[in-house]
């Protein structure tokens, strides 16, 4: 067990180093000269030389890499060209908004998906199952860039219940969370339904019924405990994605999170910010997945005690 945890953390560390390296190389992999791209064609040669020196691009690659890693270790992510402020500060401002939206959306998704998926599986083939499956299909098919504006149109402009955009109190969280949450809920519902259905076909469910247990005990005690395991993996993947900022939803609602920061930075060719955002998104994904694996290891006795 301990060995498995250590192995998982070690493999995560290796991937983190790989991600850092790729992010470092990002600026060098961009086609053309990054300095020219940032300053535009009409820049004076003296400015170019100055920027090149400021970015350290005039030094050998290996030296730049070591320097980059050393700065990362101190949480020094560089300075934004556009804002003239440390990138770490910018991220720290944006992160709470992203976290808030992520948690709200995921909570909403779980509240919808788990009961709906379980009921659909328990009433397999019935009208409830058909309804749930249809809703899930609809949820997956509707893109967020369409659902978001639609919700704004109905609830903000017509009914005037919620703010149109921005982040200002709980009311402003509702529409982005619903937009993001329904899509997640749709995928999750299908997963929960499929997983519960599969488990209900297992031999040990028949054993439980042969013991004389009622349908609710069989479902809760015997089926769900097993059906959880694959669902957990999906939740981890979804949370990892959310923590990196939901770019489209944040843009639609002008939500001041990491996703919209990234979009702005790309438009402004603000390389240090782009690098930092990509790094953050990858790390969020990685750590949530590592965590999911560890939880999985702990939840499944076959792995825990194997």
């Amino acid at each position: 067990m301990l060995e498995a945890v250590a192995a998982r953390l070690a493999s995560a560390a290796v991937v983190v180093l790989g991600v850092c390296t790729l992010v470092f190389l990002l600026i060098h992999l961009v086609p053309g000269d990054p300095v020219e791209a940032m300053l535009g064609e009409g820049a004076r040669p003296a400015d170019r030389v100055a920027l090149r020196a400021a970015l350290g691009l005039d030094r050998p690659l290996g030296e730049q890499y070591v320097d980059y890693l050393a700065r990362l270790a101190r949480f020094d992510l560089g300075v934004s060209f556009q804002e003239r402020r440390p990138v770490a500060e910018l991220l720290a401002e944006r992160l709470p908004a992203t976290l808030e939206l992520a948690i709200a959306a995921l909570a909403l998704a779980l509240v919808i998906a788990i009961p709906l998926g379980v009921l659909a599986a328990a009433r397999h083939g019935g009208p409830l199952d058909g309804g749930a499956t249809g809703l899930a299909l609809l949820g997956i098919a509707i893109p967020n860039f369409w659902l978001g504006p639609l919700l704004i149109l109905v609830f903000s402009l017509w009914l005037d219940w919620t703010p149109v955009s921005g982040r200002d109190g709980l009311a402003s969280l509702i529409l982005p969370a619903v937009t993001l949450g329904t899509g997640l809920a749709a995928v999750l519902t299908r997963m929960v339904r499929a997983s519960v259905l599969e488990v209900l076909g297992e031999d040990y469910i028949r054993t439980a019924r042969a013991k004389g247990l009622g349908p609710i005990t069989v479902l809760w005690r015997h089926a769900l405990r097993n059906a959880w395991l694959p669902v957990l993996t999906l939740i981890g993947l979804q949370l990892g994605g959310l923590l990196g900022g939901a770019v489209i939803t944040e843009t639609v609602f002008a939500w001041p999170g990491v996703g919209s920061l990234l979009i702005d930075a790309i438009h402004a060719r603000d390389y240090p910010v782009v690098q930092a955002c990509v790094l953050l998104i990858s790390l969020a994904y990685l750590s949530v997945n590592a965590l999911t694996d560890l939880v999985y290891t702990w939840v499944d006795p076959r792995i825990r005690l194997g």
Binding site: E202, D203, R206, K211, H222, D300, L305
Partner: protein
């Protein structure tokens, strides 16, 4: 199809001797609802079980026997299955009980044991919790302590050592036999009057099977339970049941006291089934098998369902379904022609003459070792080794069969795969035509592969479902450059006919074939490059007895015609007795005893061989051997015991056995044994 037939009143019925039926089943019919209409997979069953009695429900796969058990328990999904008829348990009709009352019956008055202990327990709940559920549900005990005490008592009763320490174990930490004991403990929790055991030992090794059967029978006697034992194994029926009911294609065709049935089955199906069964002591004649196949479940048949395969069938059999005919007291049969005598067997001299004396050596295995590393941690360092095969020496002769016998995990399959180089030997030599196969690689090895072929155990998993039969059989011919184009197609057609299929079958897909037919395809594929050795890895263990006999007959005929050597890997000593010239018994990576089939089976010297032989269920009462119980469980091949590997379980072990690895000793003839007590 005639379904829902009212049970005909017949003279001599109800059975004499049954005073008070506990369970009375009348006209039980199970219809499966399919898009194309409903099909009756169980048709008009009627039988009774008295208190404390054991009734065996015997039938081959797909005959509807498991469906019957699930229908009695009302565990079939009502959306897809319609059950009609009456199931009276102590007077109450179970099929008409409200679901809530039925739940008290399930696990209460009627409990059930299932076939596959590996999947019958919930993997994420402890065994203690799973037994406790049944205790709480049916005994009214609710205090944590009282429940726990009862669980410990139950686990102890089913023979789980140190039951208190097992409460917190998860199923994966127990062996298959132990899991089945837990399932039995769960079934006992509600003090059932009727225990339904659906193939309770089919998934277990033969020595474990013997223990579990003894346990079930012991518990049945102690608690005066009635037992409905569902099985395909005539030996198990003979050893445990009072009466049996034979099922064929959804119908009961014969019901009889066991003694009367084994003295002379009335139905031709029963007679053929009994004749198909290989026996430890019937080495002279090859069982005949039953031609054809069972009609698929729910197929509509006019007349007798067995008529297609019956050599007594008359025109009347194909037009009218036979009613029950009384044979004797308590013995009835559903056959128009049960009184007719059997025609003489067509293939009486099917047994090949045993080649006598020494013949040339085809392949000599010398000190074969196959270890699999256990890798752990980030860098995959070797944390240990599974010693699957640990020093095995064998000799194979052309035209003869060497059987390699042992229980699951003994390494017999690995030996077979190493022989055809599907796994690389860790050490040792495989001498074939003056060359060591273990040292060959690349082109040289590929050139010799045509001589060495293998037939796998699972006829379903061993075939690519996306290839046509012709491509499966002909692939070897093409890749080895033995034939191509038209020549290859002709050869495939010829091969299919030789194994009893039609040339046109080459164009069909594997899913269109039954298990037995698929095994024929597998044999045709192995035969294609005209090999000199075929490794047959449990080729019939997934098949029904009647089909098994056909496949064994086919293998024997092919050997006679082509002088192929077989390495016949099996756990079934009865099959080995029929097929083998020589036998090698394997335990935990080593050969413990070897010799001619008569030497090993008639004069077994190693205690393990004797225990294996004593565990085989036998039909003939006179041939039964006193049971030898083995202590404990098979150790892991990753950590074999010191000294003799069998000593921790050996009933005859001496102190010295734990220290000294026994050398192989010749007992005369070709009979060798590795046991210190044999010296």
């Amino acid at each position: 199809m005639a379904i829902g037939v009212i049970p005909e009143p017949s003279p001599g019925w109800p059975l004499s001797g049954i005073s008070e039926p506990l369970l009375e089943v009348c006209d039980l019919t199970v219809r499966v609802v399919r898009p194309e209409g409903t099909a009756a997979v169980v048709a008009g069953l009627d039988f009774r079980i008295a208190r404390g009695e054991t009734l065996a429900l015997l039938g081959e796969s797909g005959c509807g026997k498991s469906m019957t058990a699930l229908a009695l328990m009302r565990l079939l999904p009502p959306a897809v299955v319609a059950v009609t008829g009456q199931v009276r348990l102590a007077g109450a009709d179970l099929l008409r009980l409200p679901e809530r009352a039925m739940r008290r019956v399930r696990g209460g008055q009627v409990a059930m044991i299932f076939q596959e202990p590996q999947t019958a327990l919930n993997p994420v709940l402890t065994v203690g919790a799973q037994v406790a559920e049944a205790v709480r549900r049916h005994t009214g005990r609710h205090g944590a302590r009282a429940v726990r005490e009862r669980v410990v008592e139950l686990l102890g009763e089913v023979g789980i050592p140190a039951p208190r320490e097992r409460l917190g174990d998860y199923p994966h930490q127990l062996s298959g036999g132990m899991k089945q004991r837990v399932v039995i403990a769960m079934a006992l929790a509600g003090r059932p009057q009727l225990l339904i055991a659906d193939e309770p030992t089919t998934a277990l090794d033969v020595t474990i099977q013997a223990e579990i059967l003894a346990l079930i029978v012991g518990l049945q006697r102690r608690h005066a339970m009635a037992l409905l034992l569902i099985t395909h194994d005539l030996g198990i029926v003979a050893e445990t049941a009072d009466r049996l009911a034979v099922m064929y294609a959804g119908r009961l065709v014969e019901e009889a006291p066991c003694a009367a049935f084994f003295a002379g089955p009335a139905h031709p199906y029963g007679r053929r089934l009994l004749a198909s069964r290989p026996s430890l002591d019937r080495r002279a004649a090859a069982p005949a098998g039953i031609p054809g196949r069972v009609p698929p479940p729910g197929a509509s048949v006019v007349g007798c369902r067995f008529a297609e395969r019956c050599d007594l069938a008359a025109p009347a059999c194909r037009s009218a379904e036979p009613a029950w005919h009384p044979v004797a007291a308590g013995h009835r049969v559903r056959c128009h022609r049960w009184a007719e005598a059997d025609p003489p067997p067509a293939d009486a001299a099917a047994r090949r003459p045993r080649p006598a004396g020494e013949t040339e050596v085809l392949l000599r295995v010398d000190g074969l070792v196959v270890h699999f590393p256990i890798r752990r941690g980030l860098l995959g360092r070797e944390a240990g080794r599974v010693r699957a095969v640990d020093g095995v020496s064998l000799t194979l002769h052309p035209g003869r069969t060497l059987a390699l016998v042992g229980e699951s995990g003994c390494g017999k399959t690995t030996v077979g795969r190493a022989l055809v180089r599907l796994v690389a030997p860790t050490a040792g030599a495989l001498w074939y035509r003056g060359r060591d196969l273990a040292r060959l690689g690349g082109r040289e090895l590929r050139a010799l592969r045509k001589d060495l072929q293998i037939v796998f155990q699972d006829p379903y998993g061993a075939m690519n479902p996306r290839l046509r039969v012709g491509d499966i059989v002909g692939e070897g011919l093409r890749t080895m450059g033995l034939a191509s184009g038209r020549a290859a197609r002709c050869r495939v057609a010829e091969l299919l006919e030789q194994v009893g299929l039609a040339a046109e079958d080459a164009r069909r897909w594997p899913h269109a074939f039954s298990g037995g037919q698929r095994q024929r395809i597998g044999i045709a594929r192995a035969l294609a490059p005209e090999p000199r050795l075929i490794v047959c890895d449990e080729p019939t263990s997934a098949l029904d007895v009647s089909v098994q006999a056909q496949i064994l007959g086919l293998l024997a005929r092919l050997q006679r015609e082509r002088a192929i050597a077989y390495l016949f890997i099996s756990h079934d000593l009865s099959v080995v007795a029929q097929m083998a010239d020589e036998v090698a018994v394997m335990y935990l990576g080593r050969i413990v005893e070897r010799g001619t089939v008569d030497e090993v089976l008639d004069r077994p010297r190693h205690p393990y061989t004797r225990a294996l032989l004593s565990a085989v269920p036998v039909v003939e009462v006179a041939a039964r051997r006193p049971a030898i119980r083995l202590a404990g469980e098979r150790p892991s091949p990753a950590r074999p015991p010191a000294g003799c590997r069998f000593h921790p379980r050996c009933p005859e072990a001496l102190a010295v056995c734990g220290r000294t690895d026994p050398p192989e000793v010749c007992l005369g003839g070709r009979h060798w044994v590795s046991c210190l007590r044999a010296g």
